[in-house]
Symmetry: C2
Subunit: 453 residues, 2 copies
């Protein structure tokens, strides 16, 4: 760093006269981190779901797991369980998602990576450091096992969710890692949607990792340490920071606003909707030969959607509300009622036109228009600097979990891309990824192990 | 958005059975925003410093203003005052900084912009919307005066700090806006520093705006609305999100960690150091003809510093600590003591070498090595996706406020760029800006008005 990042104390500035910090410094010789101490306090809650399931689960068991964890004694989200954390977990405030390409063809190296990542993800989600010695307790002449920037921070409700892209199964026409016939049918190559302007360096990836936390430093630390652990085995293909959630995944949460200024995801599936989750989010067996390693899994769709906010901001409130089909203030359907009132698509105004227009997004996106399909969305607002043309590069990093993208994403997105005025005039998809989310991990197991047995 | 962002209620999902939200929806017809209501509650505190100064201030008065605001009744940071908020304000958690190029040569248009921006910044920092009608209360057939994504959020301790780059005074050899002779002597063109790899689209800018808040959505909303207000007058040149602070600017704050995993800014100047702030941060009159419009101002240095974290992460703990000159765990000087103990550069170890090495960053950056100069730093950790080469693009967005960059930044940075092993091997400067920070605004005034009178 330039400047004086680590500039020492000015003689005479009485460093000992700073009570809040000297209390922290009372044990300077000890290398026990405060993060370690915090984590110890949370261990009781961390394994709460560990015993729920020891194998593939019935839909009832899945439903039980899908219920939100009890209001915590801590900010630790349990890592182990029949499903992965970070799907129905009440959406945390911040996201760091990364896509990795696997640069080895060695099956054993891949399995070792997945085991190491599982251990690291479990540790970090409990507020512990990675490795056995963390950032400061290892051999002095070796690189630390944790990068250290989360020392002193709490677990921050960190969840680390893993998903496998098509490139893990086959690439350039070749089967990889002995996974012949194991690629799930539902793990398709997404079609080109009208208007797509996908950038290769923002799309794809063999393994997608979603880190969510209430503290962005915790989420960034998680991805960074997985990248560190994977050095030589994986490369970062893309990464995306989401600064603010645009979805609620629990009825305990308020509906947040996207960068159009509208409440987003009012009708999102929630953790409490256990039957609907079973119907729309949790995958069936789904692989080509009917094997069940995806039972309890799901499919992650990520789309980086640039919003033309400068154009939007010069659009009248009438047009904005008409395009969405809801009021900007409360998010109520234009057909009347409150935010959570069901929209009435038939009711007409004095002019004889439907109060919710035929091209309103709320109509086109509604389950009734889409064979009844729903999804669990978990998107985030992003802003990534300037576009070089005088505008902010900002928008929505769309994340959704669905039972099967062939039925639950592609048809809806195809319709949107063709008919939705909002999508046509104000949105541009610049990144895309689809990946199979394996079920959760049991103690002693590792992520995706069903794929390698 | 693809998916069902605004998907309406599924018939039969009993929307009225959601207690937390129906309480909020009790007044669906009203367009009074919750943000507006929140702001009303905070108005008492918002003007607390308003009466402090009515003109140029003595150093005593500046010192009084520099003291941190009383622990607030709210999360509102006063906007008016002799100095701008966002310098000595206890560093908020998140940053959105943007550089704008002024694309008009019309002096009246520039003054109007500065007046409009002042009004908007004041409103937003008090948790109010921009304009008189905000996001939802204006004419239905006009674009809203506020973009709305901060509705429902608190003020989040937002500060908006403005600074003028050299390009506001002259560009391409031509004086702009009648500001002949008004460019401060201290507002130099920064020299090229060895190792600089500056990207034009991350550097410079006629007007720099720093928005800091504890909620990133609030900071992003602020910059975005200034861009909206400035449409046709300014263009966004670059913008930078900082996800986590790396500096403390008040003794009430814990020292945060940078992405090297070390505590950063232990010895930073703090709001409480009134004499040192007068000596090192607040600018003198400084303009070429001795006029005093910068009295109470400062100079902002912004440097986007990419960290080679992958290399750092493969460096031994011994080398990391040696390069910094402090322990990774507590941030104590390697010469002994606790975090805030003054480093002893003379004391030697058993091997006869200084415990704090000759090339340790803490030594090279220390005031004793730099003619006694200090700075007030206000930097943030950033991560901006991948670099396309398999690595995260992450590092430090360095922000500092200094009395005069000729004495308080350039010599130190030149020495660092030449001698500091840390800087040479692990850092790369990819963006740069220097701007003159005018003094604060009094009620009825506008930012930088001293420059136009």
């Amino acid at each position: 760093m330039s400047g004086c990042p680590y500039g020492g104390g000015q003689p005479g500035t009485a460093p000992d006269a700073v009570p809040t910090v000297s209390a922290q410094g009372d044990a300077p010789a000890s290398r026990m981190s405060r993060r370690g101490l915090l984590a110890l306090a949370g261990v009781g809650g961390a394994g709460a779901l560990a015993g729920v399931a020891a194998g593939l689960l019935s839909q009832d068991a899945l439903a039980a797991v899908a219920a939100p964890a009890e209001a915590g004694t801590n900010d630790v989200v349990p890592f182990h369980g029949a499903i992965q954390a970070g799907i129905t977990t009440a959406a945390q405030d911040r996201l760091h998602m990364a896509a990795f390409d696997v640069i080895t063809e060695d099956r054993a190296a891949l399995i070792k990576l997945l085991k190491d990542w599982t251990a690291a993800a479990e540790a970090m989600s409990q507020g512990r450091e990675t490795g056995t010695t963390g950032a400061v307790n290892g051999p002095y002449d070796a690189p630390p096992e944790d990068t250290g920037e989360a020392m002193g921070l709490s677990a921050g409700k960190l969840t680390v969710t893993f998903a496998f892209g098509a490139g893990l199964f086959e690439k350039d026409g070749k089967v990889r890692f002995g996974l012949d016939g194991r690629r799930p049918d539902a793990l398709i190559d997404l079609p080109h949607f009208p208007g797509d302007d996908l950038q290769p360096n923002r799309s794809g990836g063999d393994i997608i990792v979603q880190a969510c936390a209430d503290d962005p430093q915790v989420a960034v630390h998680a991805i960074r340490n997985l990248a560190r652990i994977g050095f030589g085995t994986v490369r970062v293909r893309w990464s995306q920071l989401g600064f603010g959630r645009t979805s609620s995944t629990s009825r305990s949460q308020q509906t947040p606003r996207n960068l159009f200024g509208f409440k987003d995801g009012t009708n999102n599936l929630k953790a409490e909707d256990t039957d609907l989750l079973n119907e729309h989010v949790w995958a069936g067996p789904g692989t080509r030969d009917g094997e069940a390693w995806m039972q309890g899994g799901s499919y992650l769709v990520a789309r980086r959607i640039r919003m033309h906010i400068e154009i939007w901001d010069r659009t009248s409130l009438r047009e904005q509300e008409g395009l969405i089909g809801r009021t900007k203030s409360e998010g109520s359907p234009l057909s009347g009622g409150k935010e959570f009132t069901a929209p009435d698509f038939a009711i007409k105004g004095k002019d004889g036109e439907p109060l919710i227009g035929m091209d309103a997004h709320v109509r086109l996106a509604h389950a009734d228009q889409n064979d009844g399909v729903r999804m669990l969305r978990r998107g985030y607002n992003y802003t990534d600097g300037s576009d070089g043309l005088g505008h902010l590069d900002a928008g929505l990093f769309f994340v959704a979990f669905v039972k099967d993208p062939r039925t639950h994403y592609v048809p809806m997105q195809m319709a949107m891309a063709k008919e939705d005025t909002l999508a046509l005039e104000y949105l541009k998809h610049t990144g895309s990824a689809l990946a199979a989310v394996p079920p959760g991990v049991q103690p002693g197991g590792f992520i995706g192990e069903g794929l390698f047995t």
